[in-house]
Symmetry: C2
């Protein structure tokens, strides 16, 4: 098992060393990674101004499961408010991947998320899934232009 | 009602005429739109070669609901095979939005989808939702590098 893990790590290292698949992180990629993690902290703090107004572009779209596309900050604020209202809501996500166009004004981050909350009976519910966020540079600041996520868990 | 619709169309036209939100479609945007629609036709024809090998980048990722991230063509082939195996499966999607970076090698398309199939009891099931696809230009051809979708319907 330990050997197999080691072999997988080696294969991973070889794949990552292929420039066509993933080169060294650029400054713009590091900036998107930082913006993604700052967004997580604002979301965890349930700060609507910092998680919507400060980071979402005016025409930003959030594509959440079990809901129509939320377009614009007012709709996104409503969507986030519902999540923030879940009892004991806790969330983590991580930008495992970041890519930016050569022109440096459009990029995306993607990775796993984990969210827990209490259902109406007080039982702790855990959801695990993945997300992709598309970012656009506006006046030197990375803004979210599209965000989407879905669960890894089997359907009911 | 007719008046309201007309007003909404006018508001839409004004929004679309704002260059900061959506300028005239560029050649690269038209190319991604065409690639997106060609992908739909290959998927509708349940052609694994044309819908996976010919259009998905080697490191392509499909982020489908209720499943872990499918990475690479073999995993995506398995994911598509499951969808193609659904009895009487029919699917439509439409790239309502297309954006491309100024450098012209990374872009994305997004829009609604509608999928129907028969459940094990033979009952017709309809799902409606939205998708986002990230495209990368490789040797002059637009390839899918990340594709994600989720349902608009309420959760069970």
């Amino acid at each position: 098992m330990r050997y197999r893990r080691h072999a997988m790590a080696l294969i991973g290292a070889v794949l990552l060393s292929q420039p066509s698949l993933a080169g060294p992180e650029t400054g713009a990629e590091a900036a998107i990674r930082a913006a993604d993690l700052a967004w997580l902290r604002a979301y965890q703090a349930m700060d609507l101004k910092k998680s919507v107004d400060d980071v979402c572009a005016a025409d930003c779209e959030v594509l959440a499961p079990n809901a129509p596309r939320a377009i614009g900050r007012a709709a996104i604020r409503d969507s986030f408010k519902s999540a923030f209202a879940l009892p004991d809501m806790k969330i983590e996500w991580h930008p495992d991947e970041v890519h930016v166009a050569k022109s440096g004004e459009i990029g995306y981050s993607s990775g796993p998320y984990r969210m827990t909350w209490r259902d109406p009976k007080g039982k702790l519910v855990t959801d695990r899934g993945k997300y992709a966020t598309i970012w656009r540079l506006e006046h030197g600041q990375w803004k979210v232009t599209l965000d989407m996520f879905n669960t890894d868990l089997p359907g009911q």
